[in-house]
Symmetry: C2
């Protein structure tokens, strides 16, 4: 299964198979916790194997990522399909946003994958093309009922995901479920009309927690990403 899709040339030796599984499991865990920036060296160490062992199974980091995230993204399509079964369009939309973000909440690497790391023909963007029509349908239905504000479009959904992801990235270490609080607020903003606000079931961050999240020593280590050098106004 790894190492491109060459047919099962021959079964691996038992220890090798065990190591492979260890690597996959550890990689999932590490990328989920630390994001795609985690190095294969880190993963090897965490899995208790040498780097060489990782590189024998996967020619490079990208190949490992592909192996890991291939199906994960299909999950979103399944959630959208299940959402379309919901009794009302509005419920369907809520269901989708809730579940899709719950999946992303577990996995920082997946978030980065969805936000920006796609490259051309891989499953990621392909699956996302499948997702598009389903989401458009969810929106259409909810609007037809008059429940969803009429000026919302399909392209708003990924940008809602961008907002919620921001919360997760900043806060998951301190309060992993906090994103639900803000999704509730956003959903209240999406309703065409409503009376009372939906009660927030997740408590806000305390002053002390917010200090920890925004304060000194937070991520951005070394100022992280240094901004595209290539000008952002034109594209080849």
């Amino acid at each position: 299964m790894p190492w491109s899709d060459t047919p099962p040339s021959r079964p691996l030796r038992r220890d090798a198979e065990r190591n492979l599984q260890r690597i996959l499991a550890t990689a999932r865990r590490v990328f989920a916790a630390r994001g795609l920036g985690a190095t294969l060296d880190d993963i090897a160490a965490a899995a208790g194997v040498g780097v060489g062992t990782v590189y024998r199974r996967f020619p490079n980091k990208k190949a490992l990522l592909k192996a890991l995230f291939g199906n994960k993204i299909r999950e979103l399509v399944e959630i959208a399909q299940e959402a379309l079964q919901q009794p009302s369009g509005w419920q369907g939309l809520c269901f989708f946003l809730e579940r899709a973000h719950a999946v992303q909440a577990q996995d920082r690497g997946l978030r980065q994958m969805l936000m920006c790391d796609r490259d051309e023909g891989d499953q990621a963007s392909q699956t996302q093309r499948e997702l598009g029509p389903l989401v458009a349908d969810l929106i259409r239905r909810a609007q037809a009922e008059g429940a969803l504000r009429s000026d919302l479009t399909a392209t708003d959904i990924p940008l809602i995901a961008v907002m919620i992801s921001g919360i997760m990235d900043q806060c998951s270490a301190v309060k992993p479920e906090l994103w639900r609080r803000y999704l509730t607020i956003i959903l209240d903003g999406l309703r065409a009309t409503r009376d009372a606000a939906t009660p927030l079931t997740v408590d806000p961050l305390t002053e002390e927690q917010i200090e920890r999240v925004m304060g000194q020593g937070a991520p951005c280590a070394g100022h992280g990403d240094r901004g595209a050098k290539t000008d952002t106004t034109s594209r080849p």
Copy 2:
């Protein structure tokens, strides 16, 4: 003024003064456009001077940043004060969120500064401590009127900023004013009750634009930040 706060040891030579101003102006522009990750080498080149010239005026990058962002952050305090003058609490809150984010929209570096790069006693976190009570007041007033949902707290404000910043970071190159669309939605989510949804005055991204924003080749270059190596559960 630069180089710590030693008294005006002696006026600079005319050409040196000109270069200093060039450096400051360019640094503002570059950090605003590319974020704090921009290098002093980049800034020097953009300003048409050598790196050495930059380092003669500022001992290191941090010093330059301090010189640039000192006042910028006070601006937010002033906005909050002006917001407290508004006729209603709700209008005040809207005014504050609108204006405060408008300032951040112009400046990616400022955003990063506010989100995470503070270190202990500098003006940034100090000013932010000033901001706290003002924001708390804005919220109290808007709730007293019954306009703002009663379960919102002061710590929600910076997290709304996190969400909106996410939009700006992803989209400012493609559609700089897009954040207003999502702020409108969030504000509609913050109202205690409402009838119709506030019309969105900013158009959504087109399919083609969203492709450009999320698609292949986006930021995250090299996967940027590689996730705290130090465990996030304890702090010394």
